[in-house]
């Protein structure tokens, strides 16, 4: 696994910050958002010197994949594939091009390279070229993309398309997303407060995560012991509204039930929920409402959004990585930003230490009523 985010430029540097629920948001300084006040965002303060790539999203992905594959310099002939999750892709460059083009249409000479980098799949091609990949799929389902990528990567291992398959989620902060969420009045000017009574919206972030799944054969050939297993993946659509979640979280329930079914475990076996927890009033209420329908007793849950910012397509993978780490380190992370319980939700996030967790549920939900859920376990399954 590999990750780069506001909490740190690799997993070891970042996980303690996530566990302790540190607030890693800061006023946006990567570019001028044009908003009156720079929104609090989860920024990667400085990219490592070795980061390469045609745009920021690719540079972040390069860092995460480099860390994930660091133990596999010799892959002994095993095939490597990618399932790449991104919403922004090359938008950070496209924005600059379009602004220049609008100011002076003769600036078209930039068009060729900017257009090629704009496409989401340009990121996948870059990763294959850089890390010797055989093939890929490029997925874009808004904020749920990363978790879908994990599920699809699992299937690609199961059907023998690849021996190793890296689920990669990456999104750089861009003007489009900052101004877009702002236009929808979904950004909390004081920083996100997941599940808090006074929550007013989310805070965006940037980052990348990579989870390398391996077949049994690949684990044996590479002589590696899996860190955890992807035991279940579920996907659904709300069919309710393009941006608002179903009030009772019906789609979320369906995705979680599908993941539990695939994992072949009862809901009571889940020891922790790493929620989507965006801190928008509707999303948090709908998510916990859905969990109440699934669990007789909702297990300890957390949101990492204040520690990381909402990293969009990357969030499902980055937060899964820290959830897996937390499961192995026997803790439930502190939910930064939460201070006052909301009676309408009826439950509060609870951190834990020295707690035995065998299975963790991760949720991700996105625009278009798109829902994803995955279950990671310490035993049984297929992933490294």
């Amino acid at each position: 696994m590999g990750a780069i985010c506001a909490a740190g430029t690799d997993i070891a540097a970042a996980k303690r910050s996530v566990y302790e629920g540190r607030d890693n948001l800061s006023p946006l300084s990567l570019f001028d958002s044009g908003l009156k006040v720079a929104p609090l965002s989860g920024q990667v303060a400085s990219l490592p010197h070795f980061a390469i790539g045609p745009h920021r999203t690719a540079q972040l992905a390069f860092c995460a994949v480099s860390e994930a594959l660091s133990g596999f310099s010799d892959r002994k002939g095993l095939s490597l594939g990618f399932v790449v999750a991104t919403t922004v892709g090359g938008m950070t460059r496209s924005e600059l091009f379009y602004k220049a083009y609008k100011a002076d249409p003769s600036e078209l000479h930039q068009a060729a390279t900017e257009c090629a980098a704009h496409e989401p799949s340009a990121l996948s091609g870059f990763l294959c070229e850089t890390f010797g990949g055989l093939g890929f799929h490029t997925l874009s389902t808004a904020c749920s993309t990363g978790l879908h990528a994990v599920g699809l990567a699992k299937r690609l291992i199961q059907n023998n398309t690849f021996d190793l398959c890296c689920a990669v989620g990456s999104d750089g902060l861009s003007l489009l997303t900052i101004r877009g969420f702002s236009s929808l009045m979904l950004l909390d000017p004081t920083g996100c407060k997941p599940f808090d009574k006074n929550r007013k919206g989310t805070s965006l972030g940037e980052g990348a995560g990579a989870i390398c799944l391996a077949s049994d054969k690949a684990c044996e050939i590479l002589n590696v012991k899996p860190l955890a297993f992807v035991c279940g993946w579920g996907a659904s659509a709300d069919c309710h509204h393009m941006t608002a979640p179903h009030p009772q979280g019906l789609g979320a329930q369906k995705a979680v039930r599908a993941a539990l079914h695939e994992a072949e475990i009862p809901a009571s076996d889940i020891g922790m929920i790493a929620t989507h927890g965006t801190a928008t009033p509707d999303n948090d209420a709908a998510e916990i409402g859905a969990m109440k329908k699934i669990f007789d007793k909702v297990p300890p849950f957390c949101s990492m959004k204040r520690s990381l910012g909402h990293t969009l397509a990357a969030s499902g993978i980055i937060e899964s990585i820290f959830a897996i780490c937390a499961m192995k380190d026997k803790c439930v992370p502190v939910t930064a930003g939460f201070s006052e319980s909301d009676e309408a939700i009826g439950l509060v996030p609870q951190s834990r230490e020295n707690i035995a967790i065998s299975h963790v549920l991760k949720n991700s939900f996105g625009f278009g009523g798109n829902n994803a859920a995955a279950i990671f376990s310490l035993s049984n399954g297929i992933t490294r």
């Binding site: 496409e119 294959c128 055989l134 699809l152 059907n159 877009g180 996105g366």
Partner: protein, 266 residues
């Protein structure tokens, strides 16, 4: 991947089909983005003749709702305010979300963005779904906008293939199932082309599908593959011809330097 049966198919090409606008329901006509309307009408044409309801949706699109992305940035750069309506529609999966909403399809809802290989990638991802997700509605959709007309003349020779066929806008939809019925479809890729690039990928695509470089009875050259929708349109055309036998339809995406191939068995 295992071949999947095509239960029914439909297409919509605005350049040659003025009537499609009459098929847009009133509640979608005034406010919805044109690319949503194309995806909707194409899917509605298919579902009108289908006896079964899809349980999942997979959309393949290279650039998504480009006009909405441009519209949002126009607002930001010109007036200092981007429209939330434009932003919501600008996400690549907005067409898939809209189709789920309109047709009440609450199963998996995926959007693949693999350039010219998007249709093949969408077909390939169908094979990754569980049996309970079938029938699956697959829709390939991309739009042309005037900005692209302005950009294309400035593209380098390396990149002009990237957008030169963009005028072939429209949508193609298919309803796929796990049965043994014909016609059947399967895909391979996208596979990274490495130093092969472009036309040299055709044998590689055939090899990947068949394990040999011998082409089947009919196959199309990559020289024809100049549109995001090439593979989807060619697949639709072959289905209309109803010739027996197998057809290989390769695709190549310059932006990712990757190829894919579709095999259609009639």
């Amino acid at each position: 991947m295992k071949p999947l049966a095509i239960l029914c198919h439909s297409a919509l090409f605005p350049n040659t089909d003025d009537a499609w606008k009459n098929e847009i329901p009133a509640h979608l006509k005034r406010r919805d983005p044109r690319i949503w309307q194309m995806a909707y009408v194409c899917a509605a044409r298919l579902l009108k003749n289908s006896l079964v309801k899809p349980r999942s949706i997979i959309v393949g699109t290279a650039l998504g709702a480009l006009d909405e992305t441009k519209g949002f940035l126009d607002g930001v750069f010109t007036d200092g305010f981007g429209s939330p309506k434009n932003f919501i529609a600008s996400v690549h999966n907005s067409m898939a979300g809209k189709l789920a909403l309109e047709f009440s399809i609450d199963g998996p809802n995926l959007t693949l963005c693999d350039g010219q290989n998007s249709f093949a990638s969408a077909i390939g991802n169908c094979d990754l779904l569980g049996q309970e997700c079938f029938p699956a509605l697959v829709v390939a959709v991309d739009e042309n906008i005037p900005l692209l007309d302005a950009i294309v003349p400035a593209l380098s020779s390396q990149c002009n293939r990237f957008l030169s066929g963009h005028k072939q806008e429209g949508a193609v939809s298919m309803l796929l199932d796990c049965s043994q019925n014909t016609p059947r479809i399967r895909s391979v890729g996208p596979r990274y082309a490495g130093p092969m690039k472009d036309k040299a990928c055709t044998p590689a695509a055939i090899q990947a599908l068949f394990g040999s470089s011998q082409p089947p009875a009919r196959f199309y050259g990559l020289s024809e593959c100049n549109s995001f929708l090439f593979a989807a349109i060619r697949t639709f055309t072959e289905l209309q011809k109803k010739q027996s036998g197998s057809t290989i339809i390769p695709s190549y995406s310059p932006s990712s330097n990757a190829f894919a191939a579709i095999e259609l068995s009639l």
